[in-house]
């Protein structure tokens, strides 16, 4: 039974302390993040919003271990990302992290079902378990009936749902999404953000989503507003726009 009340902010699964990041272009170094601390909780959808170029994506990539910060620490599921070598980080991502990107990044040659199966094959799972998880996550994103189609035959919203199913099938504790709706029309974007919200509730997943789309704010449990590499505002919504969960009984 999915929990519908947001848990108390005691279950921080993602903690960043005093992280800093700057990029050098030529002789100029531009600081993007400076002395930023934040902790993100499980079981809710946290949205990072802010103007373009303020460092949202950079923060997401540091929190997810795709980039290393110049200073500071990131603890993900109580493990320090900085002390891992790249192999360990890959293994950590394989077991614990899902990603959804703005571009759907689906292989043109694979059907929706195969896209979802592919990463599961690298986990030590029986083929029955792979089949079960594939079917369940396709079902969960509501695309089971189109499982045999290739990306060229799917709409943008459907493609993003396949990408979510691909991330979801690994049953990750952490799910990162960078502008998951910005390539989609309003209605499809709505479906996607609802889906992410529902995943956070139903699986207790830590969902961290970056978007500059103000329409998504009402769907998030917590909104972090960024500007110039700093978090200006951290607001928690106790009654966010409920995900339209067909299966949730409320």
């Amino acid at each position: 039974m999915p929990e519908l009340v947001p848990p108390l902010p005691s279950s921080a699964t993602l903690v960043a302390q005093n992280i800093a990041k700057s990029f050098a272009s030529g002789r100029l170094t531009t600081p993007v993040l400076s002395n930023l601390s934040v902790s993100i909780d499980a079981g809710e959808l946290t949205l990072i919003s802010g103007p373009s170029g303020c460092g949202k994506s950079t923060l997401l990539s540091i929190l997810s271990g795709l980039q290393t910060p110049d200073a500071g620490h990131v603890m993900a599921l109580s493990e320090s990302l900085q002390t891992m070598d790249s192999h360990r980080r890959e293994a950590f991502r394989l077991h614990h992290t899902g990603f959804v990107f703005q571009g759907f990044n689906l292989f043109p040659a694979l059907t929706a079902r195969e896209q979802v199966r592919l990463p599961l094959q690298y986990l030590d799972l029986s083929s029955q378990e792979i089949d079960r998880r594939t079917d369940e996550s396709l079902e969960e994103v509501g695309i089971a009936h189109r499982h045999h189609l290739r990306p060229a035959e799917l709409s943008g919203g459907e493609k993003q749902r396949v990408a979510i199913a691909r991330a979801l099938a690994k049953l990750p504790a952490l799910l990162f999404a960078d502008e998951p709706t910005s390539a989609l029309d309003a209605a499809s974007g709505q479906v996607i953000i609802d889906l992410l919200h529902r995943i956070a509730r139903a699986h207790g997943t830590t969902v961290l989503c970056v978007s500059h789309d103000p329409r998504l704010i009402s769907h998030a449990d917590r909104v972090l507003t960024m500007e110039d590499g700093r978090i200006l505002n951290d607001s928690r919504q106790l009654t966010p726009h409920r995900p339209q969960d067909r299966r949730a009984s409320c």
Partner: protein, 377 residues
């Protein structure tokens, strides 16, 4: 199991078609080249391959069969003492100047003086017992039917070799060697025709048959370990055949040409294949980066590229093998000298797969661009 490599190959076959064809054609060229070279230069070993001897004994350092020098006949007694040896035959290989009729002028020929005993080893695969017996008559010779016009004689006709009269008593197909005409005669006739008779007098080679041909290597080593029986060296028949073929291959410049062509063909094949693989990886670089973000290791991603290379190679090789088989069959039926040797052809195929592997390794470098951090912008 979803094989990303195979699915992509099938779905985007147009992208991989040039690479497959490039691999196919370089394989086909290599295979045909190998078959032709084996066919043409195999002639250098015609005496060895047409005979049933297991061991050849000749002058030390003889590089090819046609370059033999007379050896001391004493070594025959060493062979007689060896329990493995069941039969020994001398073989004379001499140069001759043939004068036929009909204004053909002089033709250089090789004269083979062979045993006419029933069951003789020399040219056992070409001569029937009846033909061999015909050589017993003094001054009788046998030639390849294809050489008759060149020699200006007919069966039953006469000609002169080194000033001695000979009579063509029969023809036997399959005697043609590299760049020369081969004439078969008995040992006695050959010695009679020898223009340098008296110089050494011994046979050019001794050939021997063994009780157990599989032991040839050991017997040869044993024979070469003795001293005091004159200057000689023993080879197994395959060793000596290979020695002759290789000598011709590399001393006529043909070998260098063959190698040069092989390198060019392989280089072109490798470049086209790696380019196709690079393009395929580059087209999906974001998808590979996404897989990496989801935790699929770089090593596994490299395997996908290598698997793709393997399938491109496999398709090309199968295509080429079928075509080569057809063309070699066609060539054989048209009397073009082609020969098939399983080790050589397999070596060609292995080489092609190595080439394909190298292309795959080159294409792997494109995966470095698959950095998941670039997906977050």
């Amino acid at each position: 199991m979803v094989s990303l490599a195979r699915k992509t190959l099938i779905h985007e076959w147009r992208r991989f078609l040039p690479a497959t064809l490039a691999v196919g054609f370089s394989t086909l060229l290599q295979l045909l080249q190998a078959a032709l070279v084996l066919g043409i230069f195999g002639g250098a070993a015609v005496y060895i391959n047409d005979s049933s001897a297991d061991i050849w004994i000749g002058y030390p350092g003889t590089q090819a069969i046609d370059l033999g020098r007379a050896i001391d006949g004493d070594v025959a007694s060493l062979l007689d003492m060896n329990h493995e040896v069941t039969r020994v035959e001398p073989f004379y290989l001499l140069d001759g100047d043939w004068r036929g009729g009909h204004g053909t002028g002089g033709v250089s020929v090789y004269i083979s003086g062979i045993s006419t005993q029933p069951g003789g080893m020399m040219f056992a695969r070409v001569l029937t017992p009846v033909l061999r017996a015909k050589l017993t008559y003094p001054e009788s010779v046998i030639v390849d039917p294809a050489d008759l016009t060149k020699l200006g004689v007919k069966v039953g006709g006469t000609a002169a070799i080194n000033g001695h009269l000979v009579r063509v008593v029969a023809t036997a197909p399959g005697l043609r060697a590299l760049g020369g005409v081969d004439i078969l005669a008995s040992l006695q006739t050959a010695r009679l025709l020898d223009s340098s008779a008296g110089e050494a007098g011994g046979p050019t080679y001794l050939v021997a048959r063994l009780r157990h041909p599989a032991n040839a290597g050991r017997v040869v080593a044993d024979l070469n370990g003795h001293t005091g029986f004159g200057r000689y060296h023993a080879w197994t028949a395959p060793q000596f055949a290979r020695r002759s073929v290789l000598f011709w291959l590399f001393n006529t410049g043909a070998g260098a040409g063959v190698l040069f062509l092989a390198v060019v063909v392989f280089a072109v094949g490798a470049i086209i294949t790696s380019q196709a693989l690079v393009a395929a990886v580059a087209a999906s670089v974001n998808e590979y980066a996404t897989l990496n973000a989801l935790g699929v290791g770089r090593r596994q991603l490299r395997w996908v590229v290598l698997e793709q290379a393997f399938w491109v190679g496999a398709c090309g090789v199968i295509l080429a093998s079928v075509l080569a088989g057809l063309l070699i069959w066609l060539a054989q039926s048209e009397n073009v000298p082609v020969a098939v040797s399983v080790p050589v052809l397999s070596a060609c195929l292995v080489l092609v797969m190595v080439l394909v592997g190298i292309s795959g390794l080159m294409a792997m470098r494109t995966l470095r661009r698959a950095d998941p951090a670039t997906l977050l912008r």
